[in-house]
C-alpha cells in the first residue's frame, strides 16, 4: 500500500473517531467544562488558611487582668468570642456540637496571683480533631497569650527572634496557583488514559475493532487514529484551564507556553499508553473504567503532590509515587508556570516521562497485538 | 365479544415527524396477527404504544378490553412482550429468569415451580436449567424469551421480530409454539421481516410510512394485488415509498 493511501486511510479513521467524540454531547460538554469548573472550585473553595476562630472563654472571676487578656483575643482579629462562660462544664457540649474551636480557661484570681508573684494559670484547650487546623489554632492562641505575658514582664525581659519569611514563587500562598498545575495533570489523565481505555474497550466489546483490524491499517495506526482526536481535546483542555486560571485568578505564567505544550504532549502520550494497556488487559467497559479509575485517577490525585505534598507521604507511598507519571508532570508544570523554569531545570523529570512513554507505548502495542491475535 | 386489540386513529409524532399516522386495527381474540412493514415504517413505535411504553399523540387503543392510556396497569397484567433485543438477564440462570418473571406477575410458588418445570421440559432445557442464560445458544434464548413472555398466560402477546437471526429449523419450531399459544386462545401480535412467516398469519396488516397500506388475510391480500406471494404484495406496496425516499 502506498504512503498516500495510508495517510488517506488514517485520515478517514481520525475523522471517524472525531465524529464519535463530537456526537456524544453530554460527555463532550463534561470534558470541556470540567477543567473550567474545577479551576473555579479549586481556586475558591480549597483553602486551608485558618481565620475567624471561634473562641469560648471561661473566666470564673473576671478582674482587670483577665479582662485585659480577653481584650487581647478580641483585638487580635483572628478570634471571635462565641461564648463567655463562668465554669468549664459547658465546654464539652460546645466542642461536641462544633460551636467552638478553642477555649481559654482563666483560673480565678488572675490579677491577685500576678501581683503576688504566684504562678497564674491559663489553659488553652483546642479542638484538635483536625490536627492541621488544631495545631495552627493552638499556635495563634499561644501567640496571643505570649504577647500579653511579654507585656506583663516588660519589654526588656524577653528575647525575640523574628523570622523574615518569604514564600518564593508564590508569595501569597495562593492555593489556586498550586492547584492549577495539578488540575492540568488530572484533566489530561482523564482525557488520555480514561477516554482511550473506554473507547477502545467499547470497540472490542462491540466487535467493531475486528472490522478495523481486517482493514489494511496497521495496529499502531489504529491506535494513533484513536489517540489523535483526544490529543487535540487535551490541548483544548490545557488552554481553557490556563485561560480560566489567568482570567479569574490571575495565576502567573512565567515560563514558556511551547515548553508546556510539548510537555503536555509527552504526558498525554504516557496516558494514552496506559489507556491502551488497560483496554488490552480488561474484558469489558466496566472493568476498564474501574481499572482506569483505580490505576490512574486515584494515584494522579493522591500520590502526585497535586493536593497533598509528596514529602508528606509515608516512605512506602513516596517510593510508589515515583512510578506515577503525574507526580513528575506536576513538577514540570509548576516549574514552568510558577518558577519560569526551562528545560535545564527540568531535565530529570522530562527524561523520566520520556522513558515512561517509550516503555508504555512498546508494552501497550505488544499486549494490544496479543489481545487481538 | 370484545376485540383483543382495538385501535382507532392512533397517532404518534416526534417533533414534526409523524411516525405513526392515524392507524386503525382490530384483532380478534385468538388470532395470529402479522404486522409487516419496512424498517422505519413505524412498527416498533406502534407496538410501544400498544404496550404502554410510549404515550400516543392522538387516537385511542384498547388492549384486552382496557384503554392503554388510562388503564395501563390492567393492560400490563394481561399482556406478554418479547422485544427485538434479547432481554432476559444474561447473568442469571434459565430457572432464575423464569422464577423472577413468575414472581413479578404474582404467580404462587407452586405455580412457578410447576410452570417452569413444564417449560424447561418442553424446551428440552433440562440439562441447561442451571446454566447462565449468557451461555446458551441464540435459538434457545429466543424460545426461552417467548416462553417467559407466555409464563403468566397473557391474553395478548406482542412479539417484535422474534425470529431475527435464528436458523430455519428454530424458526419453524418457534412458529409451532406460536400456533400452540393461539390454539390455547392467546392472541399473538407479531412483527416480522420474513415474508414466508407472514403467510402463516391469520391476518396481516402492512405499514408503509406510518400508515396502514393494506389489511386482510394473506389470501385476500394476494388476490387484491393479483400476485402469487405476500413478498410480491410487500414489494408492490413498499416500492413507491422506497422510490420517494431515494429521490
Amino acid at each position: 500500500m502506498k504512503l498516500a493511501n495510508r495517510v488517506a486511510a488514517l485520515r478517514a479513521f481520525v475523522v471517524k473517531e472525531t465524529r464519535h467524540i463530537l456526537r456524544d454531547r453530554q460527555t463532550l460538554i463534561i470534558l470541556l467544562l470540567m477543567p473550567l469548573a474545577q479551576v473555579v472550585l479549586f481556586g475558591f473553595a480549597l483553602r486551608t488558611d485558618v481565620n475567624d476562630i471561634r473562641l469560648a472563654i471561661v473566666d470564673a472571676a473576671p478582674d482587670e487582668e483577665s479582662l485585659a487578656l480577653r481584650a487581647r483575643f478580641s483585638g487580635s482579629g483572628r478570634f471571635t468570642t462565641v461564648a463567655t462562660l463562668r465554669n468549664p462544664d459547658q465546654l464539652e457540649t460546645r466542642f461536641r456540637r462544633g460551636e467552638a474551636d478553642v477555649a481559654v480557661v482563666i483560673a480565678p484570681g488572675l490579677a491577685s496571683d500576678l501581683a503576688a508573684g504566684v504562678p497564674a494559670r491559663v489553659q488553652i484547650i483546642t479542638d484538635a480533631s483536625n490536627p492541621n487546623t488544631g495545631t495552627t489554632m493552638q499556635a495563634y492562641a499561644s501567640t496571643v497569650v505570649a504577647a500579653w505575658q511579654g507585656d506583663l514582664r516588660g519589654a526588656r525581659a524577653g528575647v525575640r527572634i523574628k523570622p523574615d519569611i518569604r514564600m518564593q514563587f508564590n508569595p501569597t500562598l495562593e492555593s489556586v496557583n498550586l492547584f492549577v498545575p495539578g488540575l492540568i495533570a488530572l484533566v489530561l489523565t482523564m482525557v488520555s488514559a480514561l477516554m482511550t481505555a473506554i473507547s477502545l474497550s467499547r470497540e472490542m466489546e462491540r466487535g467493531t475493532l475486528e472490522v478495523l483490524l481486517v482493514s489494511p491499517l496497521r495496529p499502531w495506526q489504529i491506535i494513533l487514529g484513536k489517540v489523535l482526536p483526544y490529543l487535540f481535546l487535551a490541548f483544548a483542555n490545557v488552554l481553557t484551564a490556563l485561560l480560566a486560571a489567568w482570567v479569574v485568578f490571575r495565576v502567573p505564567f512565567r515560563g514558556s507556553l511551547v515548553l508546556l505544550l510539548a510537555a503536555s504532549t509527552l504526558y498525554t502520550l504516557v496516558g494514552l499508553g496506559i489507556g491502551v494497556l488497560i483496554a488490552a488487559r480488561t474484558s469489558s467497559q466496566r472493568t476498564a473504567m474501574i481499572g482506569t479509575m483505580l490505576g490512574t485517577m486515584l494515584p494522579s490525585t493522591l500520590l502526585s503532590g497535586m493536593i497533598f505534598p509528596v514529602a508528606s507521604l509515608p516512605a512506602p507511598l513516596q517510593l510508589l509515587s515515583n512510578i506515577v507519571p503525574a507526580r513528575w508532570f506536576i513538577v514540570v508544570v509548576r516549574g514552568i508556570m510558577l518558577k519560569g523554569a526551562g528545560v535545564t531545570h527540568l531535565t530529570t523529570e522530562l527524561l523520566v516521562l520520556t522513558g515512561m512513554m517509550l516503555f508504555l507505548l512498546v508494552v501497550a502495542t505488544r499486549s494490544f497485538r496479543e489481545r487481538l491475535a | 365479544m370484545t376485540l383483543a386489540i382495538d385501535v382507532h386513529q392512533l397517532t404518534r409524532r416526534f417533533g414534526s415527524f409523524t411516525a405513526v399516522d392515524a392507524i386503525d386495527l382490530d384483532v380478534q381474540q385468538g388470532e395470529v396477527f402479522g404486522f409487516l412493514g419496512a424498517n422505519g415504517a413505524g412498527k416498533t413505535t406502534a407496538i410501544k404504544m400498544l404496550i404502554g411504553l410510549l404515550s400516543p399523540s392522538g387516537g385511542t387503543a384498547r388492549v384486552a378490553g382496557f384503554d392503554v392510556l388510562t388503564q395501563t396497569e390492567e393492560v400490563r397484567r394481561r399482556i406478554g412482550y418479547m422485544s427485538q433485543r434479547f432481554s432476559l438477564y444474561d447473568d442469571l440462570t434459565v430457572r432464575e429468569n423464569i422464577t423472577l418473571y413468575g414472581g413479578i406477575y404474582g404467580l404462587t410458588d407452586r405455580e412457578i415451580r410447576e410452570r417452569s418445570d413444564a417449560m424447561i421440559d418442553k424446551l428440552g432445557l433440562a440439562s441447561s436449567a442451571k446454566r447462565l442464560v449468557r451461555t446458551i445458544p441464540l435459538g434457545w434464548k429466543q424460545k426461552l424469551a417467548f416462553s417467559v413472555a407466555m409464563l403468566h398466560r397473557p391474553s395478548v402477546v406482542f412479539l417484535d421480530e422474534p425470529t431475527g437471526g435464528v436458523d430455519p429449523i428454530t424458526r419453524r419450531q418457534f412458529w409451532e409454539m406460536i400456533y400452540a399459544a393461539a390454539a390455547d386462545g392467546t392472541t399473538v401480535f407479531v412483527t416480522t421481516h420474513y415474508m414466508d412467516e407472514a403467510e402463516y398469519c391469520d391476518r396481516l396488516s402492512i405499514m408503509v410510512d406510518g400508515r396502514i397500506a393494506a389489511q386482510g388475510t394473506p389470501v385476500e391480500l394476494k388476490s387484491e394485488f393479483g400476485v402469487a406471494s405476500i413478498d410480491d404484495v410487500f414489494v408492490q406496496l413498499a416500492r413507491p415509498a422506497a422510490a420517494e425516499a431515494g429521490r
Binding site: 453530554q26 469548573a37 475558591f44 473553595a45 480549597l46 488558611d49 485558618v50 481565620n51 500576678l114 508573684g117 504562678p119 497564674a120 491559663v122 489553659q123 488553652i124 484538635a128 480533631s129 483536625n130 490536627p131 488544631g134 495545631t135 495552627t136 492562641a141 499561644s142 501567640t143 506583663l152 528575647v159 525575640r160 523574628k162 523570622p163 519569611i165 514564600m167 518564593q168 514563587f169 495562593e174 492555593s175 466496566r286 486515584l298 503532590g305 497533598f308 505534598p309 514529602a311 508528606s312 507511598l317 531545570h345 | 404496550i51 404502554g52 410510549l54 400490563r76 399482556i79 432481554s87 432476559l88 447473568d91 442469571l92 432464575e96 423472577l100 414472581g103 413479578i104 406477575y105 404474582g106
Partner: protein, 383 residues
Amino acid sequence: MRPLLFLLRKEFLQILRDPAMVRILFMIPIVQLVVLSNAATFEVKRSRMHLIDRDRSEMSRGLVDRMTASRRFEVAERSDRVEQGNLGLMRRTVDMVMVIPPHFERDIVRTRGAHVQMFFNAEDGAAAGVTSSYAGVILTRYAGELGARLQPMTALAGARHEAPPGRGQPRVEVRSRNRYNAELDYRHYMVPGILVQLLTIVGTLLTAMNTVREKEAGTLEQLNVTPVSKGVFIAAKLLPMWIIALVVLSIGLLVAKLVFSVPMEGSLLLVYAGAGLYLMAALGIGLWVATITETQQQAMFVNFALLLVYLLMSGLFTPVRSMPEWAQWIARVNPMMHFITLMRAVMLKGAGVMDVARELGVLVVASVLVLSIAVRQYHKGAH
C-alpha cells in the same frame, strides 16, 4: 410486596455473581482507607534546608541544632551565598533556605531581638505554609530558652542587690491541651471522612451504573412492560445497594479500628443511623443520574463531575470554614458535609444524638427531598 422479593433476590444474585464487583466492593474500602488516610495529609515529615550561617556563633549553631533536633528539618546544603540557595530551590534539591545574618548573637545579647531570613519553596504551597509554622514555633521556643538563659546573666551583671529573680515578677503558667485527638494523628481525622466518601461512591456510582446497565441491556424495557409498579422497582434497585453500602461501612469501620486504631468515642448505633439516612440521599442521587443518562460511560462521567463538586464542597480535605461565604452556602446544602461532620463528631468527640441533632435533621430532609425528586424523574415509559 411479593414481586419486590423476587426483584431483590435477582439484584443480589446479579451483584454477588459478578466476581469483579465483589472484589471491588471489598477491596475499595481497604485500599481507600490505607492509601487515602496516609496520603491525604499536609503534614510535612522533614524539610531539606539550605543553610547560610553568616554569624557562625554559638547562638546561631544553637538555632540550627534546635531545628535539626526537632526532626522536622535537616541541613542538606550549606553555602555563603543566597544565589546558591535560590538555585537549590529552583532545582528542588532543598525545600527552604535559612539565612542567619551576621551579628545574630550580638543583637540578641544587646537588643534582645534578632532577625532570621527564611525562603520557602512555596510551589508545594500547603507544605510551605506548614513548614514555616513549624519553623516559627521552633524560633519562638528558642527565643524563650535564650531569654531564660540571659535573665540570670543580666541580673548578675546589673543588679546584684535587687531581689532574687522571680519573686514579685508576674509569672504565668500556660498549659495547652489538644482535645479529641491528643496525639495529633491526622489519620484519625481523615478516616471518618473517607468512610463517608466510600459510602458515597458505593451508593451513588454503583446505583447509577447498575440501573443504566439495565437500560443498555434492554432488560429495563422488559420490566417496564410488566405490572411491577415504579415504587417496587425503585425499592428493588435501592435496597440491595443500601445494604451493601452498610456492609462496606462495617468493613471500613473494622479496618479503621484494627489498622488505624481510630477511636469510637460515641455510639456505633448513631453512626449507622446517620449512614442509613445519608445513604438514602446518596442512592437517590445515583438513581437520578441513571434517569438522565443512557450509557454506563455517560453515567460514569456525570457521576464523576458530581462527585467532584460533592467532595470538594464537603470539608473532607479542607475545612469548610476556610471557604469563602458563597462556597460555604453550597457546602451547607451538601448532605455529605453534614454526614462527615456527624461522623467526626461521633467517632472522635463522642457526640450524642442531641449534639448532632442538626446534622440528623438535615440528612432526613435531604434524603426525603432527593428521593422524591429521583422517583418523580423516573418514568416507566418514554413520552
